[in-house]
């Protein structure tokens, strides 16, 4: 099990990529890279079964990604990890503005998005791509339509309540809220579903966030997700496959 080093804020999207890595093929090929501060960091190409392994469970008993390990300190939950990194590395204040009201807006979005954005977006990926791919069966059309309607409704709420006519959620500058919003909304792309098609305002915001992060870094972080369609799922652990077949039954 490779130990994760610390990621500077510029590489924050990579943390969210780790969430996607649980969907990657059963091969372990660690990569190491230098971050901006010249520290060596390891990214873990963890497979479905790998983050259920004994070693990983010691790091994160919840068996989920992402996880941070800083010496003996272990932390899960991407929102908590992002706040921790901002504070520890005194990142530029626009990421988590100190102004009482502006900060509250970031907190508000970060809380709302768990059920309104993250969960539904992840469901689309499962319903449209992963379940059919793994089980060979489609999810009933009625359920799919229900899911897509929920996503459309929440995207509308996001536009009307959080983004409105601003450049970014908090105003003129990108913050953690935009970062989290966008990486969650990118999830369905792994299943070829683009949630930005219906609104030019959202599509423009998406581009602004990508540019603020840097297109190179943005697409590097999303590389695995975008290649999900090429995944050879025959290498998937049969026990995991069985769990997913059970999941399919819940949609019937």
């Amino acid at each position: 099990m490779r130990q994760r080093g610390l990621l500077p804020c510029a590489l924050l999207p990579a943390i969210n990529v780790l969430c996607v890595l649980c969907l990657s093929p059963a091969s372990f090929s660690p990569t190491s890279e230098q971050n901006l501060e010249g520290q060596e960091i390891f990214r873990d190409d963890t497979a479905e079964s790998h983050h259920h392994s004994k070693e990983y469970i010691e790091i994160n008993p919840l068996k989920k990604l992402p996880s941070l390990k800083d010496g003996k300190f272990i932390l899960s939950e991407s929102v908590a990890i992002l706040f921790y990194l901002c504070r520890k590395y005194s990142t530029p204040s626009h990421w988590y503005p100190p102004d009482l009201h502006t900060r509250a807006r970031v907190d508000e979005f970060m809380a709302w998005q768990h059920t309104a954005i993250q969960l539904p977006m992840s469901r689309i990926l499962w319903i449209k791509m992963l379940i059919p791919r793994i089980t060979g069966e489609e999810v009933p059309a009625e359920k799919t339509e229900q899911m897509l309607t929920e996503v459309r409704t929440n995207m509308q709420l996001f536009e009307e309540k959080f983004l409105q006519d601003k450049m970014f959620i908090t105003g003129d500058h990108i913050s953690l809220a935009d970062l989290v919003a966008l990486v969650e909304m990118m999830q369905p792309m792994g299943g070829n579903y683009n949630v930005f098609l219906n609104s030019s305002r959202l599509a423009e915001w998406r581009m602004r966030v990508e540019l603020a992060i840097g297109s190179g870094l943005f697409w590097e972080a999303h590389d695995r997700l975008m290649k999900l369609a090429e995944w050879d799922c025959s290498t998937l652990d049969p026990m995991v496959k069985e769990k997913i077949c059970v999941l399919l039954q819940k949609f019937r």
């Binding site: 008993p61 932390l75 899960s76 900060r103 509250a104 508000e108």
Partner: protein, 240 residues
Amino acid sequence: MGLELYLDLLSQPCRAVYIFAKRNGIPFELRPVELRKGQHLSDAFAQVNPLKKVPALRDGDFTLTESVAILLYLNRKYKVPDHWYPQDLQACARVDEYLAWQHTTLRRNCLRALWHKVMFPVFLGEPVSPEMLAATLAELDATLQLLEDKFLQNKAFLTGPHISLADLIAITELMHPVGAGCQVFEGRPKLAAWRQRVEAAVGKDLFQEAHEVILKAKDSPPADPIIKQKLMPRVLAMIQ
């Protein structure tokens, strides 16, 4: 106009906000929003929160939703004791971790337990199959185990030696199935002992006052048919 809190103590996150504000002597105007009468769906309330949910906060021109955000806002604005949301980097991260985790786990399961056991049959007149109820209670049970094993462990409170926002959010969630008649603390001595500590830290009187409404949930009068129609789609979305 000072601070206004739009609350219905039937709702778990409302209880957390109410207890926090009262415990810390934060002056506010209570604006009751009766969920069972559909008041959250009114045009008037939509002016306060277009998402039509409670809790909501209004502080002059500034409105805020989401209990976690509201608690953090009150925490910062009113300079409350440090233990609620510690300055220490790692202690604070522990609280953040719990507050993030609970949305789709404990909150969801506690909500489902209340609605499947009590609110659907009693308030909405909609029966729930024994299989569905059993499945919901089993999920709740599994989450309670996680709460004990991953968060509480052998500590006095969820994130350390002192009560924090995490404990407040958690305890108010757990009172939901308690209000439904589920014996959440039975056979869980660690959790029961934690509950006593949290109650003591909050103050027994305040704790009881905040939970009067939920403890009478089983006595909810049946919903008005017109209101029931308006409520159903939102309830179904809320507990999925």
